[in-house]
Amino acid sequence: MLNIILNKTKGDRWIWLIVILLSLWSLLAVYSSTGTLAYKRGVGTETILMKHLMFIVGGIGLMYFSHLLDYRYYAGISKILMIITIPLLLYTLVFGSSINEASRWVTIPIINQTFQTSDMAKLALITFLARTLTRKQENIKDVKKAFLPIMGSVCAVFILIALANLSTALMLFGVSILLLIIGRISIKQISIVCLAGLILLTGVVFLGPRRKTYVSRIEAFMHPEKADPDKSFQANQSKIAIATGGVFGKGPGNSTQRNFLPHPYSDFVFAVIVEEYGLIGALVLVSLYLVFLWRCILIVTRSPKAFGALLAAGLSFSLTIQAFANMAVAVGLGPVTGVPLPLVSMGGTSILFTSIAFGIILSVSRDIDEKENSSEKKVIIGEIPAMD
């Protein structure tokens, strides 16, 4: 059985291992921390756990199928995704369900499942950038041909997400810039993109619908002593969780701060993990993401094609930056924002799209492995006559 699974799954084994470990850990952490949510919804914790488990299993399924698909198809898919994403983001902004005045969700009509469009936009933009950068690699300095679609897509996605979810938009913007740097876009052009982003950002912060939220959150972060105790509540609760966790933690399922932390199963799942598994747990978790990133960079190094390399780099950086951003919020390194911890936090769309991202990376890795294997074979075939 295990052999069948191992034979069927291809791509980097380390990454697969990390996926499995993170998923298991996610089940434990989510099960432990959804008591309050279960109480509010009037259902059992097990109901929520089962739903989460189904998403994880579904995610791994998606990962499996997307890793089987030749990654070159993603270039085409990215274009279609991009075309779908922009109107969808617009739709979300106008008709989406709002939580705390932020329109982030749309409900898919038939299956009645809420859907966070920014998760899809993230995937779309990164694959699209990888594709565009690859295509323009030869005439990279040609402003008109190469630059306009890049800048246009980055800015459009940024502003559309930013109006509802600034932190996600900023992170995506950062990853895009990183991808542009890796993709050898000139400093001048990157500066132009950055400038455009900055202008949009200013607009959103001072004129956007959620301006008050930003001001209060940033003020609370800059001047903790001045902050309204209720506003800094989340940040403080998170720090209490981390401080009481100690080096070895309170043990799985023993968190008490889960009852105080808002969204202990998603935004503040890291705090709960530190509380339950201690500093040791945090180090292991950080290492898992770092090892994942390192394995991805090896893929980038080994990738014979620029598209594969840029795709792997863009997606892996996006995932790890998101992971560390989530942790940074939990430890108080950044202002409170709702960024899920990839593959660990509860949340349907986040898990599914993260899984697809992993799948794409694995697809690149699988392709490299197969190419290397076949080239090795060729070498062997070629060498045998030479020995005669």
Binding site: Y39, S97, I182, R184, N236, I242, I297, A306, F317, L333
Partner: protein
């Protein structure tokens, strides 16, 4: 540098930056854990979950006859989460908020629909998650409100939060309210509620609550961690019907005499159980309310009712006999002349002097008998425990004051004769009554009780019997004489005109005391306390009763003021108590041509009564009958009732009439009391269900 290495270099640098980021996270984490750890851990303690008491259901208080005197009913505080799941979206909320406001307004009628709508809208704007909508909502109201728009979205979606509070109610309202008492926060507890709170309260449970964003505490688990233990039930000795009689009679007299306050205590002779206890005080708005328990805390000079003790001492020491002659009218002591308020009745027997309540006579007799050995008189009083508290089950009993010659305030010329007729002492009405009760109880002196049993889940956990203070307060001979003298008061003396009832014998004594007004003493504005204390039926005493009325405005003599309520209560209690009168001889009615009347009503019930009385009556085969007495016997007419028509209820008592109308599905409106003399619809008229029918009773 080729493209490939260029890209790779950039990737490595980015990786390096991410590693730095990871280290920063870990570093910050360590800072929080180690250098700031103390601060956060301390905060954890203060913010952490807390246990909140879950109120136990308080026990009930029952009357002797099983009626519910005090009970707890749930009452709710309505709160609303304006951001609940179902109304998060503006369109849903604003679409329905006006109809909710409309419903609330028409249901409660306390605010206009506009006011309600404005209130909800503002709360919504402020994003209130625990908004107080209304206090003191009953369970029924809550059930109705749950069907209103928005709230009908469901428990969590609609945002309706009901916080249960237990409210104490007295189903009989003011009946025995003071004795039942209350126990509120920050107020000295009163009455049975206060005295037995240890049992009634039960033990509160505990529930772990957590603080959630917005400063709201919510339970962590659905079930409570420590379930509350419900309180025990108290079975009091109060009989709700007797209490009603006593309270009404007292109030009637207080209103009539415009008195300042008054009290009534009815006690069962043998058991010492208090059947009724009523206290009324005149308030500024000229109404009478129960606000002070004079019966147990109103310490005053008892006046003439105390003469019982004086004569008892004299008889016990054989200083006098009932036939000893004694002058009345006035008695001179150094510095003071004791006068009889009705003037002299000449030289009469001790019995007559007692019956006519001569102060001069008793003062003279006691003074002359105990002049040389004054403490002998007070020793008797002490021996009877008159100087001691009764040790009641409810708090607030006043300490009696009976002087003795060693006291500094003892005046060796004046105190003894004045004590003889009930001055220079402090006794509560209940104390006085208990003493009379002992006489009625063949000398057995018991402390009255208010509670006879404590039950939990209908299992007795404690039972109370009256404490015997003194098994025999005096010899049987003295007792007999005292009883005769007390009967004489009613049959011959001061109680004659008002208390005397030929149907049964009452024994008792009037009392008229001039009340000392605080520091001003007896010389200030003249205030009187009229009282009557006694027991009935005198032949075989069942109840002892005292009526005390303070500062009456039209006339102040005991018989005149306290007599009528005494008579009324005694009569009614006597009439109601089936164990007192001799059983009716059934053969008295047999063959009697004039049949006892019966109200129209249920056949079987009527039949049973007639049968018990030995009356042969002919009944037809119908469930309801209309019995009309004639000179020749009972004429019984069937009431024919067909579904959907108005039944004939004329001649029925209210109970049967309501039953008949209820079965017919009609809505009765009742006027008056007694038998039904007219009904607004003729019998047999077709009528739809729920139609109102006016019944006049007389």
């Amino acid at each position: 540098m080729n493209i490939r290495t260029d890209i790779l270099l950039r990737v490595y640098i980015a990786f390096g930056l991410i590693v730095c980021f990871a280290f920063a996270v870990i570093f910050k984490l360590c800072t929080v854990q180690f250098s700031q750890g103390k601060k956060w851990r301390a905060m954890a303690d203060s913010l952490s979950t807390r246990y909140v008491n879950v109120e136990a259901v308080r026990g009930n208080i029952y009357s002797n006859d099983g009626s519910l005197l005090a009970t707890s009913v749930p009452e709710y505080e309505l709160r609303m989460d304006l951001l609940a799941g179902g109304i998060e979206k503006d369109d849903i909320f604003y679409e329905k908020v006006d109809s909710l406001a409309q419903k609330m307004s028409s249901y409660f009628g306390d605010k206009s629909a506009r006011k309600y709508a404005q209130m909800f809208r503002e709360a919504r704007k402020d994003k209130e998650r625990y908004f107080l909508v209304k206090r003191k909502v009953s369970h029924q109201q809550l059930t109705d409100i749950r069907r209103f728009p928005i709230f009908n979205l469901g428990r969590y979606k609609g945002g309706l939060i009901s916080v249960q509070m237990n409210k104490r109610i007295l189903p009989f309202r003011s009946l025995a309210a003071r004795t039942i008492g209350y126990k509120n926060e920050n107020v000295q507890p009163v009455g049975l509620e206060g005295a037995y709170s240890k049992y009634i309260d039960g033990e509160s449970g505990k529930q772990l609550m957590q603080r959630i964003a917005g400063g709201v505490w919510q339970p962590i688990h659905r079930d409570v961690e420590i379930a509350p233990k419900d309180g025990a039930d108290i079975i009091s000795t109060i009989d709700i019907n007797m209490q009603d009689i006593a309270q009404n009679a007292l109030k009637k007299q207080l209103v009539k005499s415009k008195a300042d306050h008054g009290c009534v205590i009815l006690m069962e002779v043998e058991t010492g159980e208090i059947r009724a206890i009523a206290n009324y005080t005149l308030t500024k708005d000229s109404s009478y309310v129960e606000k002070f328990n004079y019966a147990i805390a109103g310490n005053q000079d008892p006046g003439s009712t105390f003469k019982v003790a004086s004569y008892m001492a004299l008889l016990e020491d054989k200083k006098v006999d009932t036939s000893t002659l004694v002058p009345t009218g006035y008695y001179q002591i150094p510095g003071h002349t004791i006068k009889d308020s009705h003037g002299s009745i000449g030289v009469v027997s001790v019995k007559r002097a007692f019956e006519e309540s001569s102060n001069a006579a008793v003062a003279k007799l006691v003074n002359e008998a105990y002049k040389e050995n004054q403490s002998k008189f007070t020793d008797h009083l002490y021996e009877w425990g008159l100087n001691e508290k009764l040790g009641l089950q409810i708090p607030g009993e006043a300490s009696p004051v009976i002087k003795n010659p060693e006291n500094r305030s003892w005046n060796k010329n004046m105190t003894l004769p004045q004590m003889a007729y009930g001055y220079e002492m402090q006794l509560t009405p209940l104390k006085m009554l208990s003493f009379y009760n002992a006489i009625a109880n063949d000398g057995k002196y018991v402390a009255p009780i208010f509670v006879k049993e404590i039950r939990r889940l209908n299992n007795t956990i404690e039972q109370f019997k009256a404490r015997v203070i003194n098994d025999k307060i005096c010899s049987d001979v003295t007792l007999k004489k005292m009883q005769e003298m007390l009967e004489g008061v009613v049959s011959e003396g001061t109680g004659r005109g008002i208390i005397y009832n030929p149907l049964y014998k009452v024994a008792g004594k009037t009392g008229t005391a001039q009340v000392a007004d605080g520091n001003k003493g007896y010389r200030a504005k003249k205030q009187y306390q009229a009282s009557f204390c006694g027991y009935f039926p005198a032949d075989n005493p069942k109840y002892s009763l005292i009526v005390v009325i303070n500062d009456p405005k039209n006339g102040y003599y005991g018989a005149q003021v306290a007599g009528p309520p005494f008579r009324e209560i005694a009569d009614k209690v006597f009439a109601r108590d089936l164990s007192i009168p001799e059983p009716v001889q059934a053969d008295k009615f047999a063959g009697n041509t004039i049949m006892p009347r019966s109200k129209a009503g249920h056949k079987q019930a009527t039949e049973r009564v007639y049968k018990a009385l030995g009356v042969k009556a002919l009944f037809a085969n119908n469930a309801s009958t209309n019995a009309i007495d004639t000179n020749n016997g009972v004429y019984v007419k069937d009431i024919n009732y067909t579904e959907g028509t108005m039944p004939d209820v004329s001649g029925m008592g209210l109970k049967d009439a309501l039953f008949a109308l209820g079965n017919a599905g009609l809505r009765p409106i009742v006027k008056g009391s007694g038998k039904v003399v007219s009904q607004s619809l003729l019998p047999g008229v077709r009528v739809r269900k729920g139609y109102p029918v006016v019944l006049e009773l007389n």
